[in-house]
Symmetry: C2
Subunit: 205 residues, 2 copies
């Protein structure tokens, strides 16, 4: 049975798979590297946009300053973005070193470690963005019944820049989700074993 699902001569199975897999591996490594670099850049951009986001407003004689530490969810997003950026940077370095060596990931323990890390990062990023978006929605629209008032009509500049940071983190998160799919592919294909003998491969016992 051909798992690649292409009409090939069974006699050339091993050779064909070898060539095909090399091309797939090269493309996959490049895509993974680009995505990991994007995660690093976008998560770092999101972090910078949020951390430097501040606005001062004078209400009568009281001066009010809006900053990201006022919202716990933005603090969580900053921490999550920081972790994702550093993690993706380290993984990018691993990808570059792997490409330079021309090696293909065949170690199951390493593949499991990368898969687990990527999954954790992807879910953490999505959770952080969901929490920040929830705060953002309350900030923009308020929760009337709970008397949680809108704040974005007062701190428009702060909210706009914060939204930019969340959008950047959202793109980073999307890239992280794609990366986690690639690492799942890299891990689980190691478990792909032919369950039937190709018809013209003679077993020598």
């Amino acid at each position: 049975m051909s798992y690649l699902g292409v009409g090939i001569s069974p006699g050339n199975v091993a050779v064909y798979h070898g060539g095909k897999m090399k091309v797939v591996d090269r493309r996959l490594r490049l895509t993974e590297l680009l995505l990991r670099c994007s995660v690093t850049a976008l998560a770092f951009l999101g972090l910078i946009l949020i951390v430097t986001d501040t606005q001062v407003k004078k209400i009568f004689t009281i001066e009010k300053r809006a900053k990201y530490t006022n919202m716990k969810s933005l603090v969580f997003l900053v921490v999550a973005n920081g972790i994702a950026a550093v993690y993706s940077l380290l993984q990018s370095v691993r990808c570059v070193m792997g490409s330079m060596k021309g090696s293909v990931l065949f170690s199951k323990s390493l593949a499991w470690a990368i898969f687990s890390g990527d999954q954790a990062m992807a879910y953490m990023s999505v959770a952080a963005i969901a929490a920040a978006s929830e705060s953002g929605v309350i900030g923009i629209r308020g929760e009337e019944e709970l008397q949680w008032m809108k704040v974005c009509n007062m701190f428009g500049k702060f909210c706009n820049r914060g939204a930019g940071g969340v959008a950047s983190a959202m793109l980073a998160s999307l890239a992280m989700v794609l990366v986690s799919c690639i690492s799942a592919f890299s891990l689980f294909r190691l478990y792909g074993a032919t369950t039937q003998r190709p018809p013209n491969l003679a077993v020598v016992k």
Copy 2:
């Protein structure tokens, strides 16, 4: 190269893989079924707990009723739980039918569809829980700087029951994440192809 990583006689590779894979497949199908049933039950339980959660409080002459529709994030969680419960129920039926037929998933398009659905459900569940948790944290601790006041000191019963619903949804989400890993395994192992010939398998051309 043995992708199963076990010391076996290369001459028996195909046969051994076949037997081993059957055992793995059986266990995997059972685990998947149990997890999908758990998702259905827990997501439905979470939905019921949240939808039926209500508390009335009289403040002077004003009667205030707390219900899940007061929080947008709880409405999102209810919708997400409903979708996850129905989806997992349908997938459970597919698993049972697959088990009765004794068939193993070898269709790539079906595997891709299941993988995509599971990924979407897992991330949606995590996002819904993160958003609801964020609202919950504000409800319990408040956001002093933004003058979003605590509500759980006033609606303790409502908050406790709501927390139960979120906890149930959280367990459902965890099960959904595990299911998405299983479907990733089921899909990507179809792409696993041996790149080297086993040493004593003679290729007949």
